[in-house]
């Protein structure tokens, strides 16, 4: 059985937390588990020699370039929301940023996954997407991840959350051998490329992964494995599903600042 991780970063995020994650991965991951880093922009030379199981690839997605050409400069696609309202009988405009509509910022992840498929060893069984704000806490190997891997009937493992939340898509495990795997990824990419994303209720990638998962569950009867366990009812399922034994996920600015999830996150 073979497992690889993939993530994406740019120089700014590398300096903020990506570098720490990569070094921790090198220290704690079994040498049999590779980490593929899709790097946006010129990558630092030091990554080349961190470890033999860490491979850096420039972000070269032609599909993403096309997406950015069409939509990259639209304020709305970058999360800018404009609302008009009346106050004291005067028409006013409120402009704010809403991450839920930042299609551009969160587009690098699906396109990185799409790109890396052409660089992975051909016999790879499972591909794990992780956000680069992951902390590795102790040694792990393929056995450590076994309970979270999607078995044959499942296309993907994901961290589902009870509504009204969308899934926590900072950690996804794809079953590369599943018959619908490539179609699933292609459908996600197609939603971006065609602009269909802007017809959906929210425009960040977690919403898109969920949307396409629902489509595949309903239309193709495809199985997906929710690995949240008791974390399903919580806002931060990652640290309440068993993965917290090996990892921490620094969701949001405050956890990134402290370098760990808050004690209140662990239920």
């Amino acid at each position: 059985m073979s497992v690889a991780f993939v993530t994406t970063i740019n120089k700014n995020l590398y300096d903020q937390y990506g570098k720490r994650f990569i070094y921790e991965f090198a220290e704690f991951a079994s040498g049999k588990i590779k980490l593929f880093i899709i790097f946006e922009g010129e990558y630092p030379e030091e990554i080349l020699n961190i470890n033999k199981n860490i491979i850096v690839i420039p972000f070269l997605s032609q599909d993403h370039q096309q997406f950015m050409k069409y939509y990259g400069k639209l304020y709305e696609a970058n999360g800018v929301r404009i609302k008009t309202f009346v106050e004291n009988s005067q028409q006013k405009i409120r402009i704010n940023n809403d991450y839920r509509f930042n299609a551009i910022k969160f587009s690098y992840k699906p396109f990185s996954i799409h790109q890396v498929l052409n660089y992975l060893p051909e016999n790879l069984d499972y591909l794990i997407w992780t956000d680069a704000d992951l902390r590795c806490k102790k040694k792990f190997d393929i056995d450590s991840l076994k309970n979270f891997l999607p078995s044959d009937q499942f296309l993907m493992s994901y961290l589902g959350r009870k509504k009204p939340w969308y899934s926590e898509c900072g950690f996804l495990i794809f079953n590369m051998a599943h018959k619908d795997f490539q179609n699933y990824i292609n459908r996600v990419i197609n939603i971006y490329k065609t602009g269909e994303i802007f017809s959906l209720e929210q425009w960040h990638d977690s919403w898109i992964w969920d949307h396409v998962r629902n489509e595949f569950e309903e239309d193709h009867n495809t199985g997906f494995k929710n690995i949240s366990g008791r974390g399903y009812e919580l806002e931060h399922p990652f640290v309440n599903c068993g993965l917290e034994e090996f990892f921490d996920h620094l969701k949001g600015p405050s956890r990134k600042q402290t370098g760990q999830s808050s004690p209140n996150d662990f239920k």
Partner: protein, 255 residues
């Protein structure tokens, strides 16, 4: 077997390709500025930014990586003589002790070529001979700066057909010329391999390739398909560098 040492330059293509090679095979990887002369086998990608000088000096005991013969990564050549790379998903040739062809590994099995799904076209009935000029970097590297003139003069000993000079920055696309071509002549160009698939026999002046098509035989007009099969067995995708098949290949060429 000597130890292989992999070296990267400052260019991202070189770095990425040689990184896959070294990590696929578990070989040491260093910046070229750390290179020290020794008996080990030198491995790198391309001839620019210092790698070419080392290869020249070593003469043998090197592994050379560059774009593949067929289905290479998609590139664009601009009028400003720049090359823009669209991805690194295509094939790369991996050659021992030469830049162009594995003269000591002549595997003619057709499976890898067949997997490329290239349609071999019937032999063309054209009249012109295309002479494909090497890039200025190749001309300098091989120290053959009067290659075009001397090749044309040599060709004229064996044929009186019209000769058209072409290079990768020419405005007329190669495909248009191939449609009316009788033969394709180059020093070592991978376009020669493409020409054969397009039904145009190819001839080479570089020593490692001329045994498969010598310009003395230009009027014989016989496409050498064996060349295609051997070439397909010497080119690999980056993802394949992690495979057992590639490790076996390396054992075979790393004699």
């Amino acid at each position: 077997m000597s130890q292989i040492e992999c070296f990267y330059t400052s260019h991202f293509i070189n770095r990425t390709v040689i990184q896959f090679f070294s990590k696929g095979l578990g070989l040491p990887l260093s910046n070229l500025d750390k290179y020290m002369e020794n008996e080990n086998i030198f491995a790198s990608y391309g001839i620019l930014r210092g790698t070419g000088e080392i290869i020249k000096k070593k003469n043998s005991k090197f592994i050379y990586l560059d774009h593949g013969y067929f289905n290479a990564s998609s590139r664009k050549f601009t009028k400003e003589k720049k090359t823009i790379l669209n991805n690194l998903e295509g094939y790369f040739r991996v050659i021992r002790d030469d830049l162009y062809f594995n003269i000591n590994y002549l595997n003619k099995k057709t499976e890898r070529f067949d997997n490329l799904q290239i349609n071999l076209k019937e032999k063309r009935k054209g009249d012109i001979i295309i002479v494909s000029e090497p890039t200025s970097n190749t001309l300098d590297f091989l120290e053959i700066n009067n290659w075009t003139e001397s090749t044309v003069n040599e060709l004229k000993k064996y044929t009186d057909r019209e000769i058209i000079i072409h290079n990768k920055f020419s405005e007329i696309p190669l495909n248009s010329l191939l449609e009316k071509a009788f033969a394709f002549v180059s020093c070592q160009s991978t376009a020669g391999f493409y020409a054969i698939t397009e039904g145009v026999p190819a001839y080479f002046t570089h020593k490692s390739l001329s045994q498969y098509g010598n310009i003395k035989d230009v009027e014989k007009n016989e496409p050498n398909y064996d060349l295609l099969y051997v070439a397909a067995n010497s080119q690999w995708k980056l993802r394949e560098f992690f495979s057992d098949e590639f490790a076996e290949y390396m054992n075979k060429i790393n004699f």
